[in-house]
Amino acid sequence: MYAYDELDRTLINERVSEFRDQVKRRLSGELTEDEFKILRLQNGVYLQLHAYMFRVAIPYGTLSSKQLRRLAHVARRYDRGYGHFTTRQNIQYNWIKLAELPDALAELAEVGIHAMQTSGNNMRNVTSDQWAGVAPGEVEDPRIWSEILRQHTTLHPEFSFLPRKFKIAITASEHDRAAIKIHDIGLRLHKNADGEVGFEVLVGGGLGRTPFIAKTIKPFVHGRDILSYVEAILRVYNQYGRRDNIYKARIKILVHELGIEKFAKEVDEEWKQMGDSSLTLDRSAIEEVRSRFSYPAYEKLPHMPDELKQAAADPLFERWRKNSVAPHKVQGYSIVTLSLKPVGGPPGDATADQMDAVADLADRYSFGEIRVGHEQNLALPHVAKRDLPQLWKALDRLGLATPNVNLVTDIIACPGLDYCSLANARSIPIAQELTKRFNHDTAELIGRLHINISGCINACGHHHVGHIGILGVEKNGEEFYQITIGGRADENAQMGVLIGPAVRYAEVADVIEDIVEAYLALRDRPEELFVDTVKRLGVEPFKERVYATR
């Protein structure tokens, strides 16, 4: 965990006071709605279909049990007793009252939580691998760099009014769990030939109506130069990014219009002129941040404790373990994913009671630490293997042991037309229906398969990069859904391919079942994942199966 010091806490409190003043001036009419809108967005407050929505940052997906309890408290006291975890390591509350927001923020600030730059045309909450610091084989803990970037991007005096939103993600593993290739800037931590730590810098990824996979702009930027290099990218974007059309304002369009070589040249030119700037991070500056991350005092534990051997006899436990438990860098420990995708439930939602209970379990089994991933699930990052059977029983009682992590019913979905003012179609009920179509045995037989649902082209459900992507559109006042297959968000990120004409709301679940059945018949062996079958055979056989009888 990163420990905020007095300076961090002061800044967060100063931001709360500023926002309190802004809300007061809005309520008194001193600020127009036009003026206030931008100010509230800079602090994560949207006006949605039914109420204000409030998005709170969970920087690089790390939470303490104390912080999670406070999130639960806010859900209970200021909302309707639940929250929604998003695809960018945030939590959203859907029923907040504007006049009460400053108090909610003040309560969050007490535990070092804020909502700065969770929306608006600025540098958004910096995200990272939810297994950062515990996954085996990492170059180093990417959260150190995430925190350096979090500080640098917070209330930046030059880049708080960019052409459009700007998202940065960092990974330090070969397998990318942070989806860096669909971010405005993706940073992959690695070492050069001299063993020095730095970053491959990717730029111009993003989804929405013009999706792009990020391109590498520089294969290696030394860690000490990462702030100046990022600043050079931002400065080029701030000056030359389009401001005439909101749909063409993201950096991906600038990169596309200039071409990556020309864009890279502009950035290099700016970077060169910046020279050895005050942004250069010397070793002691990096160590300063590193020193404020604390790690658990792990015990020396056996690789295979007796408790685990005994529990293996229980097929229900085994099924959960196979899907939810991942290797830890320390022997005898595991990373446990808590599915927020119960059968029939809205993906990513957690009740206040569940949050409190998870906080208690984190204290008991995970050194008081919780993680939030872009797949809209939670994780306990340091669970001793001997505790897995007990933890499983406790999670099962809470409805948080659905054995579907990474399976067909572990669906990523945006809030859709049930909440969102931008949506054309519903997302949540589609996800709920799909979780009922595939029982746990079938899901296990199918294997890894990510379904992503967005209720409109803005793509908050990342439908382009779902193994199966479902996009809600509106045709003559009716909800229709376009289906894509073969997308992925990892180190081999690519966009899915449309299989054919959009289908009606009532047909979506049937169509997905057809696609999955086609896959089961077509895969050359049980281990061939859905995306690999699509890659091998293309969309045709799936298209035939879906449209032959429709």
């Binding site: 010091d5 300076l7 961090d8 002061t10 800044l11 100063e14 006071s17 500023e18 802004q22 001193e30 003026e35 931008i38 100010l39 045309n121 500080q151 640098h152 917070t154 209330l155 930046h156 005096p157 030059e158 880049f159 708080s160 009014f161 960019l162 400065r235 701030n238 000056q239 401001r243 002129q273 005050s278 942004l279 002691s284 500056a285 300063e288």
Partner: protein, 171 residues
């Protein structure tokens, strides 16, 4: 429209000269970039200070050769949502060493005062009277800053390092 300079409301010594209007014989003037660049020499011979209003879509590099003869540069925020002039301001101050008046003009509102000051602006054509009167108070909103800019305010990191240094020196 009140003018705030160095955190106080002051009378504006500069006259905005409209496009095509005749230049006054003396006194301080603010003119468009085009008009200035058309004949910078003539303007230098004129009695009275010259300031230029520089659009936010033109590189400040074009202005750099003339910085030493300008009394003011006014950068433009067509709306407060358009943040290009923040980059221009920092480039003028931090890269090109401009130390004359740097004026923010356009939709200048209270909630951007801190950002603008940090980017190097020292003079503000403020839209609303109440905002102008609240300038000094607004500048007190923040005491902690994460980014180094040319305004010289110490960053959180600097303060931490200093603290470490003094702690280890005391041991």
């Amino acid at each position: 429209m009140p003018l705030v300079k160095n955190a106080t409301i002051v009378a504006d010594p500069f006259v905005h000269v409209a496009e095509g209007a005749e230049l006054p014989g003396d006194g301080a003037i603010l003119i468009s970039a085009e008009r200035f660049l058309a004949d910078p020499e003539a303007l230098s011979r004129r009695a009275g200070k010259t300031g230029v209003i520089w659009p936010n879509n033109r590189p400040v590099d074009d202005l750099v050769p003339y910085l030493d003869r300008l009394a003011a540069v006014a950068l433009v925020f067509p709306t407060f949502r358009d943040g290009r002039a923040y980059s221009q301001a920092r480039l003028l101050r931090e890269r090109h060493g401009y130390d004359g008046e740097l004026r923010a003009t356009g939709q200048i509102l209270r909630d951007q005062f801190v950002f603008m000051t940090r980017a190097g602006f020292d003079t503000f054509e403020v839209k609303k009277d109440a905002d102008a009167h609240a300038f000094a108070e607004t500048m007190k909103r923040y005491s902690v800053f994460y980014q180094p800019t040319g305004d010289g305010r110490l960053t959180a990191l600097h303060r931490r390092m200093q603290q470490r240094h003094s702690e280890s020196a005391g041991q």
